[in-house]
Symmetry: C2
Subunit: 191 residues, 2 copies
């Protein structure tokens, strides 16, 4: 019942009657993504906003030297997209890949626009999502400015204990902004 989780997630913020609920769900479609498959590729249009029903995803971008930087990880019940490009109809600057065999529920940008126009009560839901995303990113900026590599690692473990099991050390290092070699040293020093 993939849609039950989605509904529960949205109903945290908005009370829905049967009609609204039906309309909302009609806008989402289910999509399976195999491990290592790309849900979004840099340069492509980013038309969808994804709800993770099952599995784990990662978004990242590449700099000119080909170095990966992980933007975020998304486990079950998280939302993910290249938000800037999604909102502004720009070609993606990120990749989104499945870390495990996953199932997402996707909504098209146009459908989301229609939803917000037709039923403005969904504005609140999206507003709260954006609030949380903003304050989370701001916290991350502060951590990047003030913490050492080891402190960032410790904080990540404390904050996202479930993510660590789903990802490689290389991916974690690229989230923290350090090399996998150095993360290996940090981990060794803990033992």
């Amino acid at each position: 019942m993939p849609f039950a989780n989605l509904l529960k997630n949205i109903q945290k913020h908005v009370n829905l009657n049967a009609e609204e609920e039906a309309y909302l769900l009609s806008l989402f479609s289910e999509k399976a993504v195999d491990k290592k498959e790309m849900l979004l590729h840099e340069g492509q249009p980013c038309h969808y906003f994804y709800f993770v029903y099952k599995g784990a995803l990662r978004s990242y971008c590449l700099d000119k030297q080909g170095k990966e930087s992980t933007i975020m990880f998304a486990l079950q019940n998280w939302w993910i997209t290249d938000m800037f490009c999604f909102l502004n109809d720009k070609p993606a600057i990120m990749f989104i890949e499945a870390l495990q065999d996953s199932v997402v529920l996707q909504i098209h940008k146009k459908s989301l626009d229609n939803l917000l126009l037709k039923y403005p009560k969904f504005e609140k839901w999206f507003r709260v999502l954006m609030q949380n995303a903003y304050t989370r990113e701001q916290l991350r900026v502060i951590d990047n400015l003030t913490l050492s590599a080891e402190e960032k690692y410790d904080k990540f473990l404390a904050k996202y204990p479930l993510i660590v099991n789903e990802i490689t050390q290389k991916q974690l290092a690229s989230y923290l902004g350090i090399t996998p070699e150095f993360l290996s040293v940090i981990r060794k020093n803990k033992l």
Copy 2:
């Protein structure tokens, strides 16, 4: 006419009738802040969201070693607060200080909550503010992960040419996450 700018800013996103406009404006009050005066102090309740009518502000936080990290600068027509603490009614983790003699228009958290309840059309305005703030912070995270100190400096100049005139080198360095000494070297190398 401090409120004209404020109205124009909000009306970019929401069409208002006379009643809504009057109610909105009734929630804001004007406040002058002298240069170097603190609008918010770490540990204090953060009850207000500020619109900069005139002048320039800066938010920053202090780590345990007393090192400053600038979170953001806000010039005319920008909004500023310690958003996480404002939204969640937590004691502030930031300071907000006036860089110049300034005038802000402030709205209390409770007033904003009431506004959004009474006139849900303002949800869209706040949603777009949060969207923009989120994608801006995400860009900053990516820049922090991928750029050298000099590249971050160049990008800041290109993106915020007006801010540079209002701030000290020390403040800019603390935004970029480098020491003022090193920023001095970077600047010298440009000549």
